[in-house]
């Protein structure tokens, strides 16, 4: 590719300020230098490099503290107005490695519930930031509501089963939940954020330190993609946590979904952009019909155009969402029904589009598409994994119901 990605995939430039641009630039350098330029090495020694590159990103560059307020040693990106900047960062990370991107997206999502204006919770931040956003690399894990099991009647969050519970006990809370499936890193997480139901079946979120002895982890899962994230089922057996570790303000679960959709969207757009680069290169080195360059065949060109289309529109969507979140005065807070719904709609579209981009592009690549040697198959597996997790239950069912609820005032669905 001899064109700059940012010259091809347009976005509202005014949303990204000079400071953000500097950080974005740093991350892009990191991506190019530490991962993209050495894919083969990265593939052969993935486990080790995964940790090393995460460290250089989070500790050396310091992204672990990106969304902390400045008074907590952070970059001070804890305002909805930073949404476009944060999404851009995730895009750059996702372009290099989706698994590192997911870990970052989940961390920022959870921190958004704690640090993001106007809901900055200083006490909680005081308690958590030094431990989990300090000099050591720490991993967060998120457990969302989802499907239930037959014969079990659970509290619901907009149709989705909440399988964990909190109950007040003396000066704190007790968290319970069995065989919960996090969206990432269950086997290694240092801090869990879990959506629980309280005694009145109302949804809230609880933060659970991973080193508590009553946190029991299942065996590490083998998954389609994102294996480096080391996911596993988790059970909480009467885990005691401090009072301040439960956040029960109205709309807090919606906030998680809003940010998660934005940030995983960023990751997938980045992965999609890297895939775009790869398939572009491939189409120039490959000849077909015994002579001419693949990209000059109209049918192949149309497939390439589909790839570009999907990535292009995904990036538009990403900034449409970031822009919406960044203007709470125009459209409401991230926990409002409107912003939550929009995030769900756009979030799932981004995943679908990027998935389609890759599926289409693979068609052109033939065996190079599924051979590990060419690296694109990892993107394909990673994105599918993100997409399936984001669905939560029954494919797009919950998102479609959310959509109908907002746009048509449905009550019973």
């Amino acid at each position: 590719m001899n064109k700059a990605l940012d010259e091809l995939f347009v976005y509202p430039k005014e949303l990204v300020d000079e400071e953000s641009k500097r950080v974005i630039h740093l991350v892009r350098q990191w991506a190019d230098k530490e991962i993209i330029s050495k894919r083969q090495e990265y593939r052969e020694n993935y486990e080790k490099l995964f940790i090393e590159t995460r460290k250089s990103l989070n500790l050396t560059i310091g992204l672990q503290r990106l969304t902390l307020p400045e008074e907590h040693g952070g970059f001070g990106w804890n305002n909805p107005a930073n949404a476009p900047g944060i999404a851009s960062i995730l895009t750059e990370i996702g372009r290099a490695d989706a698994a590192i991107g997911v870990a970052a997206a989940v961390k920022y999502t959870i921190l958004a519930a704690i640090t993001m204006a106007p809901n900055f919770d200083k006490a909680l931040c005081d308690a958590l930031a030094p431990v989990y956003c300090g000099e050591e690399l720490k991993t967060f894990s998120l457990i969302l509501p989802g499907m239930g099991n037959i014969g079990q009647d659970t509290p619901l969050f907009l149709g989705r089963s909440i399988l964990a519970s909190v109950e007040a006990e003396s000066d704190g809370y007790v968290v319970n939940g069995k065989d919960l499936r996090p969206i990432n890193s269950g086997a290694i997480a240092d801090l869990f954020c879990v959506v629980c139901a309280d005694k009145a079946d109302k949804p809230c979120i609880a933060l659970v330190p991973g080193d508590n002895a009553n946190v029991v982890r299942g065996k590490t899962l083998l998954e389609t993609g994102l294996n480096a994230s080391s996911n596993a089922d988790v059970s909480f057996n009467n885990v005691k946590i401090p009072k301040s570790y439960v956040i029960s303000r109205q709309g807090v679960v919606e906030e998680l979904y809003t940010w998660l959709n934005l940030l995983l969207g960023g990751v997938s757009v980045g992965t999609g952009m890297n895939f775009f680069e790869m398939v572009g290169d491939w189409s120039e080195t490959r000849t077909i019909k015994g002579g001419y360059m693949m990209k000059e065949n109209p049918l192949c060109a149309s497939v390439l155009a589909d790839v570009a289309d999907e990535v292009f529109t995904s990036r538009l969507f990403l900034y449409d969402l970031a822009q919406t979140i960044s203007k709470p005065n125009d459209w409401g807070q991230s926990g409002s029904q409107r912003v939550y719904t929009i995030a769900q709609v756009i979030g799932s579209k981004i995943q679908q589009n990027v998935m389609r981009a890759i599926n289409r592009g693979l068609e052109l690549m033939g065996s190079a598409g599924y051979s590990k040697e060419w690296h694109v198959e990892k993107h394909w597996r990673d994105i599918k994994t993100i997409q399936s997790y984001l669905c939560g239950v029954g494919a797009e069912a919950p998102v479609k119901m959310d959509t109908a609820r907002f746009f048509f005032d449905c009550k019973d669905i």
């Binding site: 989802g146 499907m147 239930g148 099991n149 037959i150 079990q152 009647d153 659970t154 619901l156 149709g159 989705r160 089963s161 499936r181 969206i183 899962l221 083998l222 998954e223 389609t224 993609g225 994102l226 490959r286 000849t287 077909i288 019909k289 015994g290 049918l299 192949c300 497939v303 998935m355 599926n359 693979l362 068609e363 052109l364 690549m365 033939g366 065996s367 598409g369 599924y370 051979s371 590990k372 040697e373 198959e377 394909w380 597996r381 599918k384 994994t385 997409q387 399936s388 997790y389 669905c391 939560g392 239950v393 029954g394 494919a395 797009e396 069912a397 919950p398 479609k400 119901m401």
Partner: protein, 426 residues
Amino acid sequence: MKNFDEFSKPEEYISPMDKHIRSVIRNWADKEVMPYRRKYDEDWKDHHIIEPAFDKLMGNSGIGLQKALFPPELGGWGIGQSDSAFTISCALAEEVGRADTAMAVAFMVTYWPLTTILVEPHVNWRLAKEFAPMFCNAEKAVFAANAMTEPQGGADIENLELTGGKTIRTVARLEGDEWVINGHKLWPTNSGGVAKLFVVPCTTKPGSTDLKDFAMIFVPAETKGVTQGGPYEKAGMAADKNSDIWFEDVRVPSWYRAHGPSMDAQIFREIIPWGLAASMGFMCGAMLNLYEILYDFVSTKTYKNKPLKEDDHIASIIGRIAGDIDICRILSYEAAKMGDRRNKPYGYPIYSDEVACKMRNLKDFVSDRAVDIFGKAMDVLGPYGADREYDIEKHWRDIKIIQLWMGGKQLCQMEAARYFFNCKTL
């Protein structure tokens, strides 16, 4: 619906052997594959776990399927001479594919080169006799391979009408009563040290566009000058090994050429429908397995505290999945029947455009549906979709490979369009 056997089949086409064959293979799959297949991914290089299952399927110590195509007088089952050869293959492909499409392809590609010499009306008895013992008398699985793809051209070779064989760089030279073969092939199923016998599409006159110069020559793997690389690592299909093969001054008897000038090109064209029909069968098998797994899942997991399948919207999604399976199965059998009509007055030869191009279209369609419904099924499973324990994501990876092989989607599209619209320049 009672179970997955109720998915539509055109009942009038079904061979009398169908039920028996299915039950034997299903028994094998449930015993030899299902309990172990989650470990196949890590076994891609060594086949420690995979190999014994192949032996039980193909060798005489088990079902002995590898001899099925050979005539009974040579120790086989005579399916090559049957009027239902394609339809039976479809059933075999389904049943093995249900367990593991990679095993299905490795097993059935063994038939692939052999179809050129064992299927009526082109039985080459001399070669049939020559190779029968290798397959019919073996206790263990014995594989064959079709070494087609070359480094420079990708699947161009399958586009024989357009290129006339001009781009083929594997060359066979007749020296006395021996062919001397030189060339480099990539990717055939059952390479990487698996196959005992190759068929090698090649040219007797480099650069020629005269199809008389196209040759299909059998080469036993242990022949001097044949070198195979190690297997490639892939996104899926661990039971199917692929690698490079180099032929350096490889010498085989002159009568190892399948049939001779012109007929070899026709024969090469004839193997395509076999590959397409089998591909559809593999995918249908995987889809039947998808249905089994999905059925349990949507009956036991809940949304809004009701089983997923009792939510009208989710029902519409899984209904579409099952509906597509029903459709794909109908189409796969129809494709098989197009092959089995080859000797009927109302049928077309399998080298004809009618059969090859229509099948390309059907295979393209079934692939698209399969890719789509496996992706959708993973989404229905949500956080369990990507989990290997649920056995769907593996098929998802494999199915995509089936879509991409044999020239992939775009070649299918072009062949179909060329046929339906009589295009001249595609």
